[in-house]
């Protein structure tokens, strides 16, 4: 099939950038969205033009790199899907497809569709870890964990840190990501020693990195490729209040 692509082209973070139009031909329905861009790039290279820069790594829906807003939706029109798992059967012959990078002050564009998600790494560095004793690995079932908690923690841990929540949020808030990371550890006994410090430090980093605040619109949950639920943001709020008001930890 033939498509008209409108892709955000930006040479570097200082460039203003603009949408440019490219026609592509010979796209089949079994191609993934990224393979479709590969086809375009081959054509651009052949024409001695600069290929479109985009992030990708595993191409099997678990690395979270393929950050693109496709026709106004992060990761495109399918629910619970990353861009690499979006297939061209989602489009029709003759469609116009607009492709933009994640838009957030905390995710500056490096080039074209590639954004810098270091701000997420900084949030993780601020508290997304646990204390463990070195030595032999302990028996897997030595710590009793309630099944509901284990499941909720696992659901939160499914977050791949792609940033679609930030891209979808009208406020570019990172609360769903932060909520998932805090919930994942707050629900488990292993996360207990740093529980208060973790949420306070991670929240502070989130705010300092220039993410907006949550207004509970639910756009993040709707666009999350891993189905992370808004209950994680409520838990984050609880954890933050618990730590700030109810613990001896310093609120920075």
């Amino acid at each position: 099939m033939k498509l008209t692509l409108k892709i955000w082209r930006q040479r570097n973070s200082n460039d203003k950038g603009k949408l440019e139009t490219y026609p592509v031909d010979g796209i089949t329905t079994d191609m993934s969205f990224l393979e479709m861009i590969d086809v375009l790039n081959q054509q651009l290279i052949k024409d001695k033009k600069d290929p479109v820069a985009f992030d990708h790594d595993c191409r099997e829906g678990i690395c979270g790199m393929c950050s693109m807003v496709i026709n106004g939706r992060p990761h495109g029109p399918w629910e619970g899907t990353t861009t690499c798992q979006l297939h061209m059967r989602a489009f029709k012959d003759g469609d116009t497809v607009v492709i933009e990078p994640w838009r957030a002050a905390s995710f500056p564009v490096i080039k074209d569709l590639v954004v810098d998600r270091t701000s997420f790494d900084k949030i993780i560095q601020a508290g997304g870890y646990i204390s463990v004793n070195t030595g032999n690995a302990v028996d897997a079932n030595s710590l009793p964990i309630d099944k509901t908690n284990a499941e909720d923690a696992f659901d939160a841990a499914a977050c791949i840190g792609c940033g679609a929540c930030v891209a979808a949020c009208p406020n570019s808030s990172g609360m769903l990501f932060l909520g998932a990371k805090v919930s994942h550890l707050a629900l488990l006994p292993q996360g207990e020693p740093e529980r208060e410090k973790r949420v306070l430090n991670m929240m502070k980093t989130h705010d300092d990195e220039g993410f907006g605040g949550c207004t509970n619109t639910g756009a993040c949950e709707a666009e999350c490729p891993k189905g992370i639920s808004l209950t994680n943001i409520a838990r984050l709020n609880r954890e933050y209040m618990r730590a700030a008001i109810g613990s001896e930890e310093e609120v920075r």
């Binding site: 666009e223 409520a234 709020n237 310093e250």
Partner: protein, 225 residues
């Protein structure tokens, strides 16, 4: 006390202020709406004026009304701060956007501005007149606020202004009520469906109740009932 300042300036802290003041104002709306149904009594406004006197002179009610003014201001100032901060977080807008969330959830600030301008007109017409204007006395020697309300609501455009503002209020509440609970971390599989359902009902019943009053007075003033 710096921890208190730090807590309330964090993005969660700001939401806590937003939700607590918002929920208090919901309570205020419920009381204000129920009391004002005295406008429907067919006694030339005597009961309404008696109620007005109680609401403006009883000390405990006065304290609560000052808290209400303060909370309205907190809600507005905090809302402006949140909105500005949230706008700053996305300097470049999308060329195409296909939002999956509700219109009112994205436009709470806009709806808030509409409600604010309504509030200015509303307070000027009644609160300001009662406090600083010249208000005649009724048969019981109470300030006759009813006559002022009656006169205001006999103008169709004034009633229309109220109805438009009430639609904005309803939309604001339909997101705000349940959102306040989420902001306070109160999301629970057993209670959240009830909170959401109640919030929706609240956002319909409150504006509807408020709407009946000016419409009733208008119809009465223009001799239709």
């Amino acid at each position: 006390m710096s921890w208190v300042v730090n807590f309330f300036s964090s993005s969660v802290g700001k939401k806590v202020i937003m939700s607590l003041t918002g929920l208090f104002l919901c309570l205020f709306l419920a009381v204000h709406m129920s009391g004002n149904f005295l406008l429907l009594q067919d006694d030339g406004g005597l009961a309404f004026n008696e109620y007005t006197k109680f609401m403006t002179t009883f000390p405990l009610v006065k304290v609560v009304s000052y808290i209400t003014y303060a909370f309205i201001i907190f809600h507005i100032v905090d809302g402006i701060m949140l909105a500005l901060n949230n706008r700053k977080a996305r300097p470049v807008k999308y060329a195409v956007s296909k939002p999956s969330n509700s219109w009112q959830s994205r436009n709470m600030a806009l709806l808030g501005i509409v409600i604010f301008f309504f509030l200015v007109v509303h307070l000027k017409s009644f609160w300001f007149e009662l406090k600083f204007g010249h208000v005649p006395m009724d048969a019981n020697q109470n300030k006759d606020l009813y006559s002022i309300v009656y006169e205001a609501f006999s103008q169709w455009w004034y009633v229309a202004l109220y109805l438009v503002s009430l639609i904005a209020l309803g939309l604001h509440l339909s997101h705000g009520f349940q959102s306040a609970f989420q902001s306070l971390g109160l999301n629970h599989s057993k209670y959240t469906p009830f909170i959401k359902g109640f919030g929706l009902l609240f956002s319909i019943v409150i504006p509807l109740g408020f709407a009946i009053q000016p419409i009733f007075v208008f119809l009465k003033a223009t001799g239709r009932i």
